[in-house]
Symmetry: C2
């Protein structure tokens, strides 16, 4: 039977490489470049699941390929779920992760609770069906950034299961075992493994 | 300024009438019949939010109108969230609400917990943006159906805020005050009221 082909609707080459390493034996993962798409896909939804689904649908409708896309956010209890779907642009367009993190710490000054969670949603459009996979990790926002690894809010996110370390203090492998993204990807891969049986 | 026009992607005339009564002053709500769509919209997603968004997108892409759609499910803790997105067809295609309810009660026999919640998701595609509104109500699945009102699982769902009555024992008005659907619709309407200001 022919190998299944899936487009991954992301311009993040790290995510592409990661998924290819896990499933390329069974499923061929094409990049947006592979299908000659060199644009940005609009993220117009006010939920993570909605953005993931809309991005996958954008490519599927234009190119016909089965397709997957993801979106991730950090939801902080004391900020009513902010920065949430706006996590990547919390300090405004054109600002970097350090600015986002500074804004987060400033907004949490004096807060009673520092509870937060990361969630990743992956939307998969395949064989006329639509599947959503969520991964979530709960933890606390620390008072100060620690660690040099990871990216985004990793230096201020201390997962409950991480022995007190921030995500940025953990190896990529250790982070992946408990992270939102690791969990969502494992659910996706588990599903992909059930195809063609 | 011209009145906004929205298509409601449902074949349920009750839902259409309800929304029209609430917002028709400010927003004109068109039915699928009004735009000459006489087919079923596929529900292919394994989440409520995904189905709502896909239904709205289906109409928006084909007709260009700003559009909204919804999906509702009953999630039972002891059944790992079942019947969930399959609530309307839990006992199989072509079976009615009574059959679904009997199956639910049978599957819950002897369960430690009878906790459950209803959720409604409404997806709104408007002005190139996508908004998701959720309404949720928590409660218990009763041992036996009670009441003659409502529909679906209403006779076996006893909301925490309902004084011990099932949804089917409440007036439509009382149910609407605390129901998943009432809450989601009020969030939608609140948003629609902010448009054009």
């Amino acid at each position: 039977m022919a190998k299944k082909v899936l487009v991954m609707a992301t311009n993040n080459s790290h995510k592409l490489k990661e998924l290819r390493e896990i499933v390329d034996g069974e499923v061929e993962i094409l990049s947006l470049q592979d299908i000659n798409f060199h644009d940005d896909i609009p993220e117009t939804c006010d939920t993570l699941e909605g953005n993931a689904l809309q991005k996958a649908r954008w490519i599927k409708d234009r190119y016909g390929y089965d397709c997957l896309a993801d979106d991730t956010g950090l939801m902080v209890d004391a900020l009513n779920g902010a920065p949430g779907v706006y996590s990547a642009r919390y300090a405004g367009e054109g600002h970097d992760s350090a600015a986002n993190t500074r804004k987060l710490l400033a907004n949490l000054e004096g807060a009673d609770s520092r509870r937060a969670h990361f969630s990743t949603y992956i939307a998969l459009l395949i064989d006329n069906d639509c599947h959503i996979f969520e991964g979530r990790v709960d933890g606390e926002i620390s008072l100060q950034p620690t660690g040099e690894g990871g990216f985004g809010y990793d230096p201020v996110f201390v997962p409950d299961e991480g022995g007190g370390k921030s995500f940025a203090e953990m190896s990529g492998e250790d982070k992946n075992l408990i992270s939102h993204r690791g969990r969502a990807v494992r659910k996706l891969v588990e599903f992909l493994h059930t195809l063609d049986r």
